[in-house]
């Protein structure tokens, strides 16, 4: 049997950070990732933060990857952070850039498929030299222990079994490792959010102009109010380089008690006039092909139109981006920007004249995705270890979600480094016991400022919201928050109140803050009373869920990775509505699954025998 020092299971940002740090410390490690390519299974909003906490040490992304700011495929540095309260066509906006900037070095919009693949390249370079590396396309299915020497034997669906001294479990929110070894129970709906997201294409220049930013700056817009369809949660819209991420994150228990299809949540957001206007673009409209023409002619036209549209998108996208223009000119195809524009308009004329193609206003969606997100405040593992296994990132239930603060990627990276440090120390001491390895890591995690943030209210962070809301009439905020606000607006009182609140405990206060009032009722009132009217010039043609699924990239697994245990349970019946890709249906009172469209989101995991698909199988995100 082959033997290695350390195995990292899962190649998301957290696992990759562990590999990078272990290699940096000169320790051999192999990382196993189920997806056929690193990044293909990861999904985020997302903004990646680098933080400077008041107290305590963390490892930020640019410290772990020294060339991050120069080389990494990051999208835009977020410089505007705005919260919108919505009610139909009324929008009331509040600038929360100060909250975004709070204790932050920066926050970049990122797309995980690209970013994780870059992390992997960096980590692999160092790991190679030590006889380790990254192995994609491998799904870990069981872990056992050699009773004599305590080493772990890892079994996968693809490879011969092998032996390791320590394991870092970075297998995400639906961690099979945690479940198979019994380190923790599956997270409950109260401990989770359901996140759903689409990627919209939009050329760089248009983004710059529309959002009032330069090419390396970006904007983040958050949404609450009627767009939530009465759920506790909200929507987001982040600008990337030449795409936009539009998504929604909802408390999963709110979804369980009042199931709404995830795609209608995102559709409602897309139909909000402000969002519609943000994402609109010129699009070619395919002509109807005359069905009376001979079949061959119809086919010829179809192919010719497809080719012209493809060319048009390529040239247009390049002509509306600084790097695109440069590369077209450098390639020698065109001499000047004017020449590019001229060829685009010639192409456009050709399309209209030859094939009666027209152009209109719409938006172009390129990817749909969904995933569960652990609410760190409610579910982080108290002891994030089991025997010689350390849990990091989403697998350990970590992630700071406080109001508009959404941080999972950076927390996972910091965890990964902590776990790597603990494992390196264990290798030096040749001691992989819970008392030594596990406790050392657990203590390090406890000392993390992120852990503190999940347990305590930070009065300075709170003040930002109070300042932002100072113009809001008190009667809108209502009887519920009135007295609190009053108390909080005075400096001394706020200190006392926060201390008192922290003694009472975050968990007791959460239900009050994370309520329908906060996310739905108050924002609706705000929009109605103070909002401005925003009108949209078109109505977006939103793809059906079937079209969205058809546009995703799958490698079908003939074996089902999910088994329904109780087809008549109330929970499973809700899955018919809550599965983001409609894998469930009900027939004769029984819920049945068709696993082929599954995107591994985990929504149904609570009451199913749930596994990730085998290596290389299942969903493959282009953006993530």
């Amino acid at each position: 049997m082959e033997k290695y020092d350390v195995a990292i299971i899962g190649g998301g940002s957290a696992g990759l950070a562990a590999l990078k740090q272990l290699s940096h410390l000169g320790k051999q490690a192999i990382l196993l990732e189920a997806g056929s390519k690193i990044g293909s299974k990861n999904l985020s909003g997302g903004i990646l933060y680098s933080k400077k906490p008041k107290k305590g040490q963390i490892t930020n992304v640019e410290q772990l990857y020294e060339n991050f700011l120069d080389d990494a495929p990051i999208e835009r540095k977020i410089t505007k952070y705005i919260l919108h309260s919505t009610s139909q066509d009324k929008v009331y906006s509040m600038d929360l850039t100060a909250a975004h900037d709070y204790q932050a070095n920066f926050g970049y919009s990122v797309l995980l498929s690209k970013l994780n693949s870059w992390f992997a390249k960096q980590a692999e370079k160092a790991a190679d030299k030590l006889g380790g590396g990254i192995i994609p396309g491998v799904h870990v299915k069981s872990i056992t222990w050699n009773e004599q020497n305590g080493t772990s034997i890892i079994q996968t669906d693809e490879l011969d079994e092998f032996e390791v001294k320590a394991i870092i479990a970075a297998d995400g929110v639906n961690s099979e490792v945690a479940e198979m070894v019994g380190a923790r129970k599956k997270f409950t709906p109260e401990q989770l959010f359901q996140g759903v997201k689409v990627i919209v294409k939009l050329p760089e220049d248009i983004i710059n102009k529309r959002f009032g930013v330069s090419s390396d700056e970006g904007a983040a817009h958050l949404f609450a109010g009627d767009v939530t369809l009465n759920h506790i949660g909200g929507g987001f819209l982040y600008t990337n380089n030449d795409t936009i991420s539009v998504g929604a994150v909802y408390h999963f228990d709110s979804q369980i008690s009042n199931p709404t299809t995830p795609y209608s949540l995102i559709d409602t957001l897309l139909k909000n006039p402000m969002v519609s206007e943000f994402i609109k673009d010129d699009v070619p409209i395919k002509p109807e092909i005359d069905k009376n023409l001979p079949q061959e002619e119809q086919l010829r036209i179809r192919f010719a139109v497809a080719k012209l549209i493809k060319n048009w998108y390529e040239i247009r996208e390049a002509s509306l981006s600084s790097s695109g223009r440069d590369s077209l000119i450098n390639s020698g195809k065109y001499k000047t920007v004017e020449e590019i524009q001229k060829s685009l308009s010639t192409l456009q004329e050709q399309m209209t004249e030859k094939f009666s193609l027209t152009f209109g206003t719409d938006y172009l969606e390129d990817e749909y995705g969904a995933k569960l997100v652990p609410d760190g405040k409610r579910c982080q593992m108290k002891k994030p270890y089991f025997k010689n296994i350390l849990f990091v990132g989403d697998a350990a239930g970590r992630g700071v979600f406080v109001g508009p603060r959404i941080e999972g990627i950076n927390v996972g990276i910091d965890d990964g480094v902590r776990a790597a440090n603990a494992v390196a120390r264990a290798l030096d001491n040749d001691n992989f016991s819970e008392n030594s390895l596990g406790e050392y890591y657990s203590k390090s995690v406890d000392e993390s400022p992120f852990t503190t943030d999940m347990k305590q209210i930070d009065k300075d962070y709170l003040k930002i919201f109070l300042d932002a809301a100072k113009d809001v009439p008190k009667d809108i905020i209502g009887s519920r928050y009135g007295p609190i606000l009053k108390m909080m607006s005075s400096g001394t009182m706020r200190g006392i109140a926060v201390k008192f609140a922290n003694i009472l405990g975050y968990d007791k206060l959460l239900p009050m803050i994370e309520s329908e009032d906060t996310y739905v009722k108050v924002p609706i009132k705000l929009a109605e009373r103070l909002g401005e009217t925003v009108l949209s010039s078109y109505s977006p043609s939103i793809p059906s869920i079937a079209d969205r699924i058809a546009n995703l990239n799958y490698n079908d697994d003939s074996l089902a990775h999910i088994k329904v245990v109780n087809p008549t349970s109330e929970y499973m019946k809700k899955m018919v509505t809550l599965c983001p890709t409609k894998c469930y249906s009900e027939e004769g009172g029984k819920v049945i699954i068709q696993h082929e469209g599954c995107i591994d989101c985990g929504t149904c995991s609570q009451e199913t025998e749930w596994r990730h698909p085998r290596g290389e199988k299942g969903i493959h995100y282009k953006y993530g």
Partner: protein, 297 residues
């Protein structure tokens, strides 16, 4: 202890640039024939499988891979793509007006001479099953015959014993009317392998996967600088016998190409709305009916 250092393995792959038939890349003339000028080209899908099989040798046996193709100057694109798959250290393009009009035999002669020009004595030559733009699957066997190598067709997997210089290969044999058979054969090197379309390399241990990753990265680096590995040969540089290549070397005469007439459909089709369970039930009922009428032995 005596360590016997076995001779390294040399692998050649012969590939072909073909039209890209995917939507958005392909163009047709009004008469329904392929518009070659407007259609993009790419490495043929069967050639790509042959390149994968060569890469297996690279990963498992640290083999040296060379690739050759006969075609127009733009065929360097196919060589680059095949290098990205196979991590080849040598790319050959055989290009000359004299080669025009060659049938499979004329092509095989160029490839035979080209393979002879590659570095090292070849142990295995891979070719794709066939080309997708109208070639008949004979180039491979004819090149094998000209090289005097043992020919193994429809190979779905292989392993090499470097010391005894023997190859073991599994071949997929389709028999008409009954199920397929997998034949396992053993042969001394050198051999010529035409790879089956269903071939898929499998790497079953952590160390093999790590090696796979290592060579794959090397392949990307090499393909990014493919010109450093690239050599173009004309007829003279190859030193081919001009009577054996191009039109003179091609005995096949294509005197007419006929389009296969479409038979009129005798079946009746009906479009079913998949979202309507009632309609699906009808389909199931029909399938049951059809199955009941069949005798299953």
């Amino acid at each position: 202890m005596v360590v016997i250092l076995s001779e390294p393995l040399n692998i050649a792959v012969i590939i072909k640039l073909e039209p890209d038939f995917s939507e958005g890349n392909v163009s047709y003339n009004p008469n329904g024939t392929l518009n070659r000028a407007e259609t993009k080209n790419t490495l043929g899908p069967h050639s790509a499988i042959a390149a994968h099989a060569a890469f297996f040798g690279r990963v498992m046996y640290d083999a040296k891979v060379s690739i050759g193709t006969m075609g127009p100057p733009i065929a360097d694109l196919a060589l680059k793509q095949a290098q990205q798959i196979s991590d080849a250290g040598e790319l050959h393009l055989y290009s000359d007006r004299l080669f025009a009009g060659a049938d499979t035999l004329g092509t095989a002669e160029v490839l035979r001479v080209g393979i002879g020009k590659m570095q090292g004595k070849m142990d295995i030559v891979f070719s794709g099953h066939r080309a997708s733009d109208g070639e008949t699957g004979q180039t491979g066997p004819q090149t094998a015959w000209k090289l005097g190598f043992t020919f193994l067709g429809n190979v779905i997997s292989y392993s090499v014993d470097l010391e005894t210089r023997m190859i073991r290969a599994k071949r997929l044999i389709s028999l008409q009317g009954s199920s397929n058979v997998i034949e396992e054969v053993e042969a001394p090197l050198p051999v010529f392998i035409s790879i089956d379309p269903t071939y898929k390399s499998s790497y079953n241990t952590v160390s093999q996967r790590l090696a796979f990753q290592k060579y794959q990265k090397e392949a990307t680096q090499r393909a990014d600088n493919y010109k450093d590995y690239f050599k173009i040969f004309n007829a003279k540089e190859l030193g081919v016998d001009e009577t054996l290549v191009g039109l003179p070397g091609s005995p096949t005469i294509v005197y007419k190409v006929e389009r296969v007439p479409k038979s009129t459909a005798t079946r009746q089709s009906e479009v079913i709305d998949g979202s309507d369970p009632e309609q699906i039930r009808k389909v199931v009922a029909k399938m049951k009916e059809a199955l009941a009428a069949m005798v299953i032995k």
